[in-house]
Symmetry: C2
Subunit: 595 residues, 2 copies
């Protein structure tokens, strides 16, 4: 069954070789009388004009497909089409899947892998076509299919399993989706090369031969993604080489084919001693990469997580974005709700992404990538509403300033046919969902009170003595880390005008207060409440807001099985929210004495 | 290679059918000129008398073997033999192995199972004979070979795999060691019976047929061990039946064969809500079993853990021992150092067991059982010194009042040939090892600050919001649970003369203070220090004592590989002790403000 926001399109396009052909077939299947006029100069862009009483889509081959989907969506929703030529803001609009060859997905909450099982590739052509259609319908164009933590079997994708990879690439090709794979930096060692030192000619030769083979099999292959020297992964530091040296070596193997080398900037000390109060994990990426600005080859993309920690509900924008004007950067977000409810609790992300744009110029990233929330579940994303994030990411990748209201409204209307007041209620619920989740889990920017390892539910002490560099240092006097110049100096990594917004607790927005400052429990907030009281109140109000959402949800006339799935997950969210409220409140009370 | 305290006896007895024959063969192999005179009336007892200038062992068949080993040990150590007839204090002296058919051992710290691999039985005859000899040499006579958490493969031991079980039983028979197996209370369900209700005639019929088959294959089989209605195991409560009804049904199937049914009294709410401050886990066993006193059949043995929690470094004696005068009870101890250092940190147990005898009359238990610390490691117990606990348990099972000094001295001399001052140093180290471990991990009886799940290393908050019923409720004002009549009422379960020793903090021994009482951080102890200061001091001193042990260990001229193994584990113990000191100190400081 097709699903998500495209659920009503039952028939799949067959036998198309190019996106332009797919566009024609999709319009035919949809019964839509529209013209297609290919204009290679438009590239991925498209424009729809009225000609002779019917719409005509102009665009390059992919642009035609994107335009066709836009036309079909407008027909379904009744919403207006945009005027003028639409061009995507980012050329590379990537989905990173953390799928393992054994069929599991790291941080996957929607079932098993759609293309791996038992150590090999295995997939249903119909589901791949549905997914290709879904991705193309919101203009996403690159899919990295395997976990950045690459094991022996994952490494085979560019060697023994390359023919399988080519077959999957062919299945996505009609939808304009190009494949990428995560590679193991030390992979030459598995194939008889005696080192993986990036300055060794033998290593470059091995990768060059590999790249030649991959592009021979898949001429439109996108490139490689690398997680190196990060959380126990191998990397150039083993050989005393910089990340620029490591990335450039790979990039040179890919350059003749037009491939990109995406290098994740997720390096920090994951064996920190909790007794060490000088090391401050959110400063690690900047410290590692800012000095390398200008040293990366043109076809290297440095992929930087949105925040300096790791996909918490609230983080500052990573200062690395401002620190590397001579480097192509990708913004990495996470659709998989690893720390944000795991596709059980509601958490629509466009409102969060839109907030970032008030601070992060859209020009700083050169590309965008999102960790996938997809899996083999019939509804693709585990929770039927979690699809709003995959949909919304496509919209965001085309226009980071798109309004969350419009994204959510369009997704809701494409997905369901609810009476207007119910659609309004659903949209409002999703618009507020992040704020609600934040309020019952981690108000005031504290972060990392989530259960270690599985990252669901509260454990306010779980990271305090761990090696992960994520401490709140709460005691009977107060809570938080001073990250200003008087503390760890994180704010020195930020542009001065941004640091100025946060470095003084009197002006720092409440939502980020405890990221930047250590404050006593009796610190008086701008609203007159003490810090301890405010945390207690927030958690209580957060739960009340979940209860209100649950009441709204029960009234929505959703189709089955969405209704049952959404209601049963809401029961789990209610339980989770109550746990957060009670445990964090107990934590605050034990330390502060305030109850 | 033979090992542990019997390492010098290289040759193994061959072709013996009975313990008496084994006795004769062992004496011959040891080159010991001694007589054997079988006297069935002595049963397991033995006496060694001088006749015609040579020693003669009198005893029943097993008694002869035990006496022969005693003679050999005395010859080796130069220590005196006891005078008069030696009879074991407990008839059933059991080792409970938590071995899984897949070859792993639950809470095993000495390698994989000695008799399971890949879902089936698989063993080396030589190692089984060595183990039989080790067990017999300290008079242990029952071995339960599989985990009390019985899965599908474990359940097959009394059905499809019974021929394999019989072969293993035959291998242990010459050493007077009888086998027992853990069974799954719901096992009839796997074999077509529609219920496991203990009052169902079909269920009794199934178990009766099973017992008949088991004893037909193994005439000297010991019996069944059952963990029911405990930590998610099935049991009679599923059918609204009491544990007496459940146990007696099984016991009646075994009675015609002289088998015993050992029923573990380890029932508590393992899904407790941490918000529930009324339920007090250490009260659970008494509440469940005391009302059933007198209802169990004669061949039921209720196996009660030494303390009311679960093998912590320090616990009160379980009040259940005094509450069931009309029930046969077994005392269950744990040689596997689950919570006490995992055979990395030194922890000799005889000093702890001896302490119990100052309070627990030796007549209250009718039997003793110990969770095994054995595994496939060449040295049997992971740490070469951990064998002292297997050895010591045999000695304890014969005489609970045996002095720890004698046990440890004899073990050390049987195991090593150290110069006298080094042997003294080793013995002192082992004698103090429990006190040292206690001091750096859990002084004052607090317990449960260990890392959840793996149970090694400190995590003072790890159990505070868990479902296991193990809370210290520490906050800025103080720490501990009031278990007196003013609190949960645990002391009401104790005999009044025992409760009187603990119910008043002014007289309660320091080592148990925080098991019984909730006290403020500034509570002044008898030595004049505050509670907070005392905890900080204890952890620091504990680490200093480990450092002193390490210095002693480095000087010991132990044979290899023992020396290397002991030294490398001591490095881990030093690290572990420092972690305990630093994390618990930080915990106390954050809450109390004392540093």
């Amino acid at each position: 069954m097709n699903y998500a926001w495209l659920r009503n399109w039952q028939a799949l396009p067959q036998g198309c070789a190019t996106p332009a052909e797919t566009a024609r077939e999709e319009l035919r299947l949809a019964g839509l009388d529209a013209g297609l006029r290919e204009d290679a100069a438009l590239g991925e862009g498209w424009e729809i004009v009225e000609e002779g009483g019917r719409p005509v889509v102009h665009g390059g081959s992919r642009g035609l497909l994107y335009g066709a989907y836009a036309l079909m969506a407008a027909r379904k929703t009744g919403l207006c089409l945009p005027r003028g030529v639409q061009q995507p803001r980012y050329t590379l609009r990537m989905i990173d899947c953390w799928d393992n060859p054994d069929g599991t997905i790291e941080r996957g909450y929607a079932g098993r892998s759609l293309w791996f099982e038992g150590g090999r590739m295995a997939w249903q052509p119909e589901r791949i076509a549905q997914l290709g259609r879904m991705l193309a319908s919101v203009g996403l164009n690159v899919l990295c299919i395997n976990n950045v933590n690459v094991g022996e079997e994952g490494a085979r994708l560019i060697t023994e399993d390359l023919p399988e990879l080519a077959r999957l690439a062919a299945a996505f090709r009609p939808f304009g989706v190009r494949l990428m794979v995560s590679i193991d930096f030390s992979q030459p060692l598995r194939y008889g090369v005696e080192t993986a030192d990036p300055l060794s000619p033998a290593v470059l030769a091995w990768w060059t031969a590999r790249a030649d083979a991959v592009w021979a099999a898949i001429p439109d292959f996108a490139g490689f993604l690398v997680k190196a020297d990060s959380e126990h992964r191998p990397g150039p530091m083993t050989y005393g080489r910089s990340h620029a040296e490591g990335a450039n070596m790979l990039a040179r193997a890919l350059a003749p084919h037009g491939g990109v080398l995406v290098w994740r900037a997720f390096v920090y000390n994951c064996l920190q001693d909790w007794r060490d109060t000088h090391t401050d994990r959110p400063m690690a990426a900047y410290e590692t990469y800012a000095p390398l600005d200008g040293q990366f080859d043109d076809n290297v993309i440095l992929q930087v997580k949105n925040g300096p920690f790791d996909f918490q509900v609230r983080e500052p924008i990573s200062p690395t974005f401002w620190a590397m004007p001579h480097t192509r950067l990708a913004l990495e977000v996470q659709l998989a709700q690893e720390y944000t409810g795991q596709q059980i609790d509601l958490y629509a992300m466009n409102p969060m992404w839109r907030e970032w744009q008030t601070e992060l110029p859209v020009s700083l990233p050169a590309a965008v990538a999102a960790v996938s929330n997809l899996g083999r579940d019939e509804n693709w994303c585990g929770h039927p509403f979690a699809a709003v994030n995959l949909y919304g990411f496509g919209r965001y990748a085309w226009d980071p300033e798109v309004s969350p209201e419009e994204v959510i409204r369009t997704w809701a209307r494409l997905t369901y046919a609810l009476p207007e007041n119910q659609e309004d209620a659903l949209c409002l619920m999703l618009l507020n969902s992040r704020s609600i989740y934040e309020q019952y889990t981690a108000p005031l920017g504290i972060g990392w009170m989530i259960t270690p390892h599985n990252h669901y539910g509260p454990d306010p002490w779980g990271y305090e003595y761990s090696p992960w560099g994520t401490y709140h240092r709460a005691d009977r006097s107060g809570i938080g880390i001073d990250r200003t110049e008087k503390g760890t100096g994180f704010t020195r990594q930020q542009p001065p005008e941004i640091a100025a917004k946060y470095a003084d607790p009197a002006v720092c927005p409440d939502e980020q207060l405890l990221f930047y400052h250590r404050l006593p429990w009796d610190y008086v907030m701008r609203d007159g409440r003490t810090l301890a009281r405010r945390i207690l109140d927030d958690h209580r109000e957060g739960v009340e807001r979940v209860e209100a959402m649950a009441a709204v949800l029960r009234e929505l006339e959703l189709p089955e099985p969405d209704r049952s799935v959404a209601l049963s997950r809401m029961e789990r969210q209610l339980q989770n929210a109550a746990n957060w409220r009670d445990i964090i409140s107990d934590f605050v009370t034990r330390l502060s004495g305030v109850c």
